[in-house]
């Protein structure tokens, strides 16, 4: 009779874990790069199209806000499953790292957009007034006053978002995305491999701690007074 559970010997764990960690970091890294590139303008637009912003456009604001909420309203697993046709269209596959990046990005952009909007809202209104009175153009004001003053808040948001993406990458393991999450599900869950299960949990804990601690450190360094 076959044993119900086979525990991978400790000596073989690194061979399983290291490539998985690499894949996870790759998924999160690529996703975050796209999320920052597209979520930042979204957040800036959300903030500045609102009343009291640099270019108040109540209708545009309502539309942006609605779309952003839409992206945030589905649980990640449901979102991932529901946009499979879109994912296939974009990357030609529904499994693997790149197939996971698509739903992660779709979920991450509206999330980061809201985080950017919040960070900008924390910047005193006078900062924008000062920049306008100093003769800044819209782009100059956004870059050199608003985003520059919001930097600590933006980095805090980036930290939060990266950790969420780490979590999503593990969920994406369900559709065979690879990475730590895939390892945890295929070995730890489906094969009752306790040693892999424990190892993946530890790796995730360590990764989250590293991201959070370095994020906190950066925020402290960026703040002045």
């Amino acid at each position: 009779m076959l044993p119900l559970a086979t525990n991978t010997p400790l000596g073989e764990l690194p061979d399983l874990l290291l490539p998985a960690i690499g894949q996870t970091l790759q998924m999160v890294g690529v996703t975050m790069a796209i999320v920052v590139a597209l979520g930042t303008p979204l957040g800036v637009a959300l903030h500045n199209s609102a009343r009291g912003g640099l270019f108040p456009r109540p209708k545009l604001n309502a539309v942006l806000s609605w779309v952003t909420n839409l992206g945030r309203s589905l649980p990640f697993l449901v979102l991932m499953a529901s946009i499979i046709p879109f994912t296939r269209l974009l990357v030609g596959s529904t499994i693997g790292i790149w197939a996971a990046v698509v739903p992660m990005t779709v979920a991450g952009i509206p999330f980061f957009g809201r985080l950017v909007e919040n960070a900008l809202r924390e910047v005193p209104r006078e900062v924008t007034d000062v920049a306008r009175a100093s003769g800044g153009s819209t782009m100059q004001i956004i870059w050199r006053a608003q985003l520059s003053e919001a930097l600590p808040g933006l980095v805090a948001g980036l930290t939060l978002n990266s950790i969420a993406m780490l979590e999503y990458s593990a969920i994406a393991g369900v559709i065979g995305a690879g990475g730590i999450g895939f390892l945890a599900i295929s070995y730890g869950y489906q094969r009752f491999d306790t040693s892999v299960m424990v190892a993946t949990v530890l790796v995730l804990i360590v990764l989250v701690q590293i991201v959070q601690l370095s994020g906190d450190f950066a925020v402290r360094r960026l703040k002045r007074g």
């Binding site: 006078e126 900062v127 007034d129 100093s134 153009s137 960026l222």
Partner: protein, 348 residues
């Protein structure tokens, strides 16, 4: 010179329309310091935002050295705005930039080359007495120092008009005085036109040449400081130079409040009055100061009952406005016990 003509600003929120400014006109000559004072909610900050065109007025014009800012489109407005420097309320510095970087902000926006910019920033910081604090971050500076950085930043593009929007509120009296002294010095050195928006009467008294009282979006009174102080009917004048609290008068004496209305009042008018009326004149309180070169003042005097018309005439001849009051104490206080009922009825 900056000229505001019939400025109106109406805010609409759904069904309700609120006129924050309701036909404000004001003219400030080059090198003049004009203060706009008013209670909170009078429309002061709206006025400030319309002067530097952060908000467009609903109607009316802002004309700066002959150029109508209200007629400009946003792109040109950005250029025109550079000739108005704004000093904001304290703590309006960018917290993540050093004092020097804050001062450099308008120059950076204009894309002035680095060497020129650094030279100008050094010059500005020196002018506001912070030559050695360029590398300090705002949280490392005192409130007064931060405000000086704000002034230096406002001056970066050599504006002809400086708008100070509650620049001294929140500062302690000594710091307020030093910041105001600096504004006065800058006016003298650069012949700046300065508009001070404030709720502090002390600020107006300290530095303004001209004052306007803003109430419910309207300028209800406006004039040169000494004119306001010499006008017995002026509410602003009375706030600027209130009647000092007077000592109690001797029983049976009439108490008069005297107001300087002329710029030529003989310093010895009390003695002259006593001689003219052939009566002892007791000085119960007086506050006399000079605005510019000429004296302005208030006094409370007591004298034996005389024909009020005669006293008034004598005072008028001396450049003074006199008013017979029942009681030298401030209104609302109990009448002093030594003022007899007769004096009260005579005043009525």
């Amino acid at each position: 010179m900056i000229e505001l003509t019939d400025l109106t600003k109406i805010y609409e929120r759904g069904e309700t329309r609120h006129a924050a400014l309701n036909g404000v006109s004001l003219q400030v000559e080059r090198g003049e310091i004009a203060a706009v004072i008013g209670p909170s909610g009078a429309g002061k900050s709206t006025l400030a935002r319309c002067v530097n065109m952060l908000d467009r007025p609903t109607s009316g014009r802002v004309v700066l050295d002959g150029e109508d800012l209200t007629a400009l489109r946003e792109r040109h407005l950005r250029e025109a705005r550079r000739s108005i420097g704004t000093v904001f309320q304290a703590s309006s510095l960018l917290s993540r930039k050093t004092a020097a970087q804050n001062v450099a902000l308008p120059l950076d926006f204009l894309e002035v080359d680095r060497a020129q910019r650094d030279e100008r920033v050094r010059e500005l910081l020196e002018r506001v007495g912070l030559g050695d604090r360029g590398d300090a971050y705002p949280h490392e500076l005192s409130g007064g120092q931060r405000q000086r950085v704000g002034i230096a930043r406002a001056l970066a593009l050599r504006p002809s008009v400086l708008l100070s929007d509650e620049a001294t509120s929140g500062l302690d009296p000594a710091t307020t005085k030093s910041v105001l002294a600096m504004l006065g010095q800058l006016r003298d050195d650069l012949s700046l036109t300065i508009i001070l928006i404030t709720h502090e009467m002390d600020v107006v008294r300290e530095i303004a040449d001209r004052a306007a009282l803003l109430e419910e979006g309207r300028i209800v009174e406006e004039g040169r400081l000494e004119e306001l102080m010499r006008d017995p009917a002026s509410a602003l004048g009375s706030s600027l130079l209130p009647h000092p609290a007077a000592a109690g008068a001797e029983a049976g004496r009439d108490v008069w409040q005297v107001h300087y209305v002329s710029d030529r009042v003989d310093p010895d008018w009390v003695g002259n009055l006593a001689r003219d009326l052939d009566a002892p004149v007791a000085l119960l309180a007086a506050s006399i100061e000079s605005v510019g070169t000429d004296p302005v003042g208030r006094a409370t005097i007591a004298l034996p009952p005389r024909d009020p018309r005669l006293v008034r005439d004598r005072l008028a001849a001396a450049g003074l406005h006199g008013e017979l009051v029942s009681n030298p104490a401030a209104p609302g206080q109990e009448p002093l016990p030594n003022v007899p009922a007769g004096a009260l009825s005579e005043a009525a």
